[in-house]
């Protein structure tokens, strides 16, 4: 069943198009990893999907509801984990969860139990009555997540939930996301960390400049750029090696030298490693070889380019 979809959604800020005819479909039980450089429109997409901001064209459907997708009835089924920490610092961890549980209509024992479960889920049971002011960054992030889980939503949107925290907390959060997936919750997860997406996403969507430029599973995306192979060879003296001869080997696309390491990019399956090694061994000693397979980061950089994108206030 389709939990959420966007069809031809356009969002402008003045003359700046932030979402450019975006089409996105999210099926129940999926974890969608939404990747994109700064300014790609990820947070605007989330805000449009949750009805926080209006859009100029297109359609958003939530839980099959086209006419009133952002009704309170649908909002009850969504949990939003914001990029910034948006908890109440003047309330204890437990009070924060009680606040949100109350807003989502939970009462009495059900509310009490769900608050307790949410605290246990994020590992904050022993800090239930403490103020978030005294929490570490990782603990605040976990509480930030717990606030979106108290009402057991069907669809959770997580906007860069692991920004700026230690590896232990990050790992804890990823394990929690996997647990949610096992429980059948649908998750839309945005992040800059490729390894997170590789670890948890069932499908990856890559966005840039307000458009979805590629989507698929991790393997499908890697195959799209698997037309290159990268080999790094450590040698005794790179200065001795005739680089022009290396570049003229069949299948070699690019040769880069960094100190005594030579990086050779060749077409996929060109089978030229033998010839490359023979050429190098004739002029210098080989200390080590490393063959890199493309990963999601390579896909991302290939599709979106390697230039820095310093767009202030992306969304």
């Amino acid at each position: 069943m389709m939990i959420a979809s966007m069809q031809g959604v356009v969002k402008r800020y003045g003359s700046n198009i932030v979402l450019d005819y975006v089409d996105l479909a999210i099926d129940e039980g999926e974890i969608i990893g939404l990747l994109g450089p700064n300014g790609a429109g990820k947070t605007t997409l989330i805000q449009t999907l949750t009805g926080m901001i209006p859009f100029e064209k297109g359609q958003v459907t939530l839980f099959g509801d086209v006419k009133a997708p952002f009704s309170n009835k649908n909002k009850e089924k969504i949990g939003l984990v914001t990029q910034e920490i948006t908890i109440f610092e003047e309330l204890t961890a437990k009070e924060n969860l009680q606040f949100f549980a109350g807003v989502y209509g939970l009462k009495g024992e059900e509310k009490k139990n769900s608050v307790q479960e949410a605290l246990e889920f994020v590992g904050l049971s022993d800090r239930a009555n403490k103020m978030p002011k005294k929490f570490s960054g990782g603990m605040k992030r976990r509480l930030n997540i717990a606030c979106a889980l108290t009402h057991r939503p069907r669809f959770i949107i997580m906007d860069e939930p692991t920004v700026g925290i230690d590896p232990q907390s990050r790992n804890y959060i990823l394990e929690a996301v996997k647990k949610l997936r096992e429980e059948g919750t649908t998750i839309l997860y945005t992040t800059h960390y490729m390894e997170e997406v590789q670890a948890i996403a069932s499908r990856v969507v890559i966005m840039d400049q307000g458009q979805i430029i590629k989507e698929g599973t991790v393997d499908e995306l890697i195959k799209t750029i698997q037309h290159e192979e990268k080999v790094k060879i450590d040698v005794t003296d790179a200065g001795q090696i005739p680089l022009n001869k290396l570049e003229s080997v069949t299948g070699v696309k690019q040769v880069n030298v960094d100190g005594n390491q030579i990086m050779i990019i060749s077409e996929a399956n060109s089978g030229n490693l033998d010839r490359i090694l023979s050429l190098i061994k004739a002029h210098a000693g080989v200390l080590g070889i490393q063959a890199d397979k493309p990963n999601l980061e390579d896909v991302f950089l290939t599709l979106t380019g390697k230039q820095l994108r310093d767009k202030v206030g992306e969304e």
Binding site: M52, L91, G105
Partner: protein, 243 residues
């Protein structure tokens, strides 16, 4: 119902703002104490202990700053990063904003009542008709909260809204001649008779205590009508900012 469930937590947030408690409770208590020592035995022209007037004025002056908390919470919840979470919640955001305003007014009135109780039972200040005094304090708290929210909704920069709310409070304190005497010309007399919330509220309380009920009601009705008119202004401005 869901919005009502949040009011308890809004109240917790307010009560735990220790700086606000310091400024709106501890400082007035200390000042009331000092003034009560200084003015012991001093009477007005009519023979009333001056301490009665001073206590009324002090409590009313601090009500002028009672809108600060509500405006801070409205700003944080609707105009900073937290707005994403608030707008994703399944309740009426406008009602939630109202609930914050209501909590701010109730909190301000409660602090006023604490100060009233302190001044009457510790220093023997006579507030006269307590219900009437609480009603006037309520009107002043209502007006101050509405004015502060108008500032919040009408300027983009929250710091400017805060400064404007301080100008509102301090400005009327100065106009009332509480820091230094103001000229006795028509303008200042008019302002202090019909416009200045502090003098209107104070005269309403004195009037009722001196059995000039008609005048007391007249002054309080000016506060009530001003609150009503400004409430509509606040609604119009707020609707544009809060869906």
């Amino acid at each position: 119902m869901r919005v009502i469930s949040t009011m308890k937590f809004t109240f917790f947030r307010m009560v735990r703002e220790y700086i606000t408690l310091l400024l709106l409770l501890v400082v007035p208590i200390v000042l009331l104490t000092v003034f009560s020592f200084v003015l012991e035995g001093v009477t007005t022209e009519t023979g009333e202990p001056l301490i009665n007037e001073q206590n009324v004025i002090f409590v009313l002056v601090f009500q002028m700053f009672g809108g600060a908390l509500a405006m801070a919470y409205i700003h944080t919840d609707f105009f900073t990063e937290r707005k994403q979470r608030i707008y994703a919640l399944p309740f009426n955001q406008t009602l939630y904003a109202f609930s914050i305003m209501v909590c701010g007014i109730v909190y301000s009135v409660l602090l006023g009542i604490v100060l009233m109780t302190f001044s009457e039972f510790v220093f023997g200040a006579d507030w006269g008709n307590w219900l009437w005094a609480i009603y006037i304090i309520f009107l002043l708290a209502l007006l101050s909260n509405i004015v502060c929210l108008i500032f919040t909704f009408s300027v983009n920069n929250f710091k400017i809204a805060e400064r404007l709310s301080e100008v509102y409070g301090v400005g009327f304190v100065i106009l009332a001649g509480l820091i230094f005497p103001v000229p006795g010309n028509d303008f200042f007399v008019f302002v202090n008779t019909y416009v200045n919330p502090i003098t209107l509220a104070a005269d309403a309380i004195y009037g009722m205590n001196q059995s000039h009920a008609g005048e007391a009601w007249f002054r309080s009705n000016i506060l009530l009508i001003a609150s009503g008119v400004l409430f509509i202004v606040m609604l119009i401005l707020g609707k544009r900012k809060i869906r």
